[in-house]
Amino acid sequence: MEILAPNLIDTALRVAIIAALMSAAVLVVCIAVRWNFDRQFKRNAHFRREAEPLIAAYVAGRAEAGEVTGILRRAPAEALPLLMEISDRLEPDERPRLHPLFAALELTNKETARLKHWRWEMRLRAAERLGYLGDPASAPALRAALQDEVLAVRFAAARALVALGDEEALEPILLSFDLPGDMNQRRVAELLYAFGPGTTDRLLAIVQNPQGTFSDSAICTATRVLGMLRAQKAVAPLADLLTSPEFRVRLHATRALGLLGDRSVLPQLSPLTEDPSWEVRNVAVQAVGKLGAPADVPRLQKALGDQAWWVRFSAGSALYGLGDAGIDALRDTMNTSTDRYARDISRQILEEHRVSEARERKL
């Protein structure tokens, strides 16, 4: 009886030879890929050595656009990423200076058409390139791309609209990103912040939301942006949100008011250190610490005994930030409080900041 039948051995040999030949083929492809990358790298490095000083001279006003566009048109595939890279290095107000160079590449129509490509990666690429190309004619197509089924494409389109300075797109952007989850809100907030203070009135209209068009999530995002923009005229409308029944709205309004730094809201803000939500209490304690005066010490001292560790920690840090009055309150709590948790957190804060008495007491 044969264990390894001849046809089995034949098949094994054939498969082994095929696998060996395919291995040789893969090795050849490997070498070719490497060689090609090396070639491209050298070509790109050569182009950069030639084009980069010219572009720098143009940005500094020492060269005319015409002197640069010739070389860029010769190698648009290398020119576009180089211009994008240089654009990122410039301050936002200097970037429009590059628009004539981007325009020389004549890519707007091609990239606008690509916004409808069947592959989402191509649509993403197109949206981000249109932001750099800076052609206002692409705005309608980018607004349409805010409805794309892929979130990454929507973000790229929104970013491009911000880069184009299309403030009219603010509401469509907010509506297209009305998604659950803090992270998405944070990303949109950061994106809208790039519009700058010019959009404050639009954001205030969203926060006040008279027609009920915007969801709590959109209001939270707008609130966050107003805080980031330090928009002083938002103080009163944001203070109105502190009594919202939705805890996320209270949370973002409290955080934004902390950033705005207007002490006049303290009477409305301080009661939130006893809010039912620990997250709101935590942010409120931080805000009171930022805005507060020695008069707020008792309220923060009370928060040292909060049931949530983060609230206790924030209260301790806030007290330390208030200077001598706060440090005295921490020492007092550490030495005399009957609440073990309040004593612990006070000692911890003092130790971390190397306030000597905490160590002496321990010793």
Partner: protein
């Protein structure tokens, strides 16, 4: 006797057919995934994450046991990472060398008595140290447990929502954390992310920063370089697509703190705690009865370098431990096997892990024994047996070269032409002794675990200080 031999031969052939079919599937899936991953990254995405105030802050945990030779370099490396907000918590797990004194000297540490929200049940914490020069550095000294115990001790001291655990011998690329954190910014349902691990032997460091990326100098080191390419570049990418990445290397893991706590933390008695913990993360994330929409991501461009053994004695000890750890992890979570409750992880991942990873050495040894018996009894000629070995060699060679091709075409690892040829040479050499050595060690590990119930961690690594930059 002959029918039994025939049945065993067919068993081995069918096993290898399925093994290589699955590997080929994983190679192809991995290639597609890496390509898609690369094309989905925006032009200045990592610069944006690096400068964004809104990026999620990360707590880096570095468990260390007798790592005085390298710990300062590692801490310098992680403190210098390009990331908007991160803290570093080094846990000295009962070292008997100078780990704490060298850290104290290098970072001007001073002791604090209270830090963090609470402590959980671990070996006792002996002291907590902070550095006025580096406000985001905390050093914890505790009694010796194991690596898992050290991680569990550090977690309550962390202040950020994302935890990144790296080994004390690891060196991260300066943008590594940005690449690891990116998936969390895109998907709020992400539970954990894993990155790529490569041998650090051959790196040139300057003050905690990588300045040159060479390859290991020894043949054994080069062989492991190939193993890591094969394992990370396509196997894990493909497995992750199938929701079956059951081993996230302990060298680089980023996980939500809430998920870490929900899984109950690392198991202190694990032989390979990273593997056991990964299985439980999968159990938590893909449990159809409990889970929300959660996911595990793999970032093929987030790179961490770890020291690999270049002495056969240490290499054998490490592989022996890995094999015992694999078996222990599977048996501890045996209820996931073929369990539809855990989706593809239970129906494919765990069985794959058991049959094609843990038990592969047994089948391979069986093949060698069969070959000898067949030749000895005259049931097969030497030529026929050599043809079968040639088949195994050429198919293995093909799959490994595909992994190298994927790495080359994605530009995930740029090495010089000289190093490239060294790498190719070690691909050809892998199946001419190194692979068989690994199989033998794994067999010993299997025996020691199943029969002798061995549960220790084996010989510790002998650390080499990283190459300083040449003058």
């Amino acid at each position: 006797m002959t029918p039994l031999l025939q049945a065993l031969v067919w068993f081995v052939l069918v096993y290898y057919f399925f093994l290589h079919a699955v590997y080929l599937l994983l190679v192809l899936l991995g290639a597609v995934q890496i390509r898609r991953y690369g094309s989905a990254i925006s032009f200045d995405e990592f610069e944006r994450i690096a400068t964004s105030d809104l990026s999620m802050p990360v707590s880096l945990i570095v468990p260390a046991h007798n790592e005085a030779a390298i710990i300062v370099n590692t801490v310098k490396n992680v403190l210098k990472l390009n990331y908007p907000s991160h803290e570093v918590i080094v846990v000295d797990d009962g070292s008997t060398d100078d780990t704490i004194p060298v850290l104290t000297k290098a970072f001007n540490l001073h002791r604090v008595d209270k830090y963090g929200s609470k402590h959980i049940a671990t070996e006792p914490i002996l002291g907590i140290y902070k550095s006025p020069d580096h406000p985001n550095l905390v050093v914890v000294a505790k009694d010796n447990g194991r690596r898992a115990d050290a991680i569990n001790a550090a977690v309550p001291l962390t202040r950020y929502p994302l935890l990144c655990v790296i080994d004390a011998d690891c060196v991260l690329e300066s943008d590594g954390l940005l690449h690891m954190a990116r998936p969390f910014l895109l998907d709020s349902g992400l539970a954990a992310a894993a990155g790529v691990v490569r041998p650090s032997n051959g790196l040139v460091m300057e003050d905690g920063v990588i300045v040159e990326r060479g390859l290991p100098k020894t043949i054994l080191g080069l062989n492991q370089e190939i193993e890591y390419v094969r394992s990370f570049q396509w196997a894990r990418t493909g497995l992750n697509k199938l929701q079956c990445m059951l081993c996230i290397s302990g060298a680089l893991l980023l996980i939500k703190k809430s998920v870490f706590e929900a899984t109950g933390g690392s198991w202190p008695h694990a032989i390979t705690d990273d593997m056991e913990f990964t299985i439980r993360i999968n159990k938590h994330v893909y449990d159809r009865l409990k889970r929300g929409p959660q996911r595990i991501a793999f970032a093929p461009d987030a790179v961490c370098y770890t020291e690999v053994p270049e002495k056969f004695r240490l290499y054998a000890s490490q592989r022996n431990r890995w094999q015992r750890g694999t078996l222990q992890s599977i048996f501890r979570n045996w209820n996931m096997l073929f369990n539809a409750r855990y989706g593809p992880t239970g129906l494919f991942g765990m069985p794959f892990f058991l049959i094609f990873e843990a038990l592969a050495p047994l089948v391979e040894i069986l093949a060698y024994v069969l070959a000898v018996i067949l030749w000895w009894t005259g049931l097969a000629t030497l030529t026929e047996i050599l043809i079968m070995f040639f088949l195994a060699y050429s198919v293995g060679l093909f799959l490994t070269l595909l992994a190298v091709l994927i790495t080359e075409s994605s530009r995930l690892r740029a090495v010089s032409w000289k190093d490239f040829w060294k790498l190719i040479a070690s691909v050809f050499l892998d199946n001419l002794g190194f692979h068989q050595f690994r199989v033998l060690i794994s067999l010993v590990g299997t025996f020691e675990y199943l029969v002798l119930r061995r549960g220790d961690l084996g010989a510790p690594m002998e650390r080499i200080t990283p190459d300083p930059k040449p003058a």
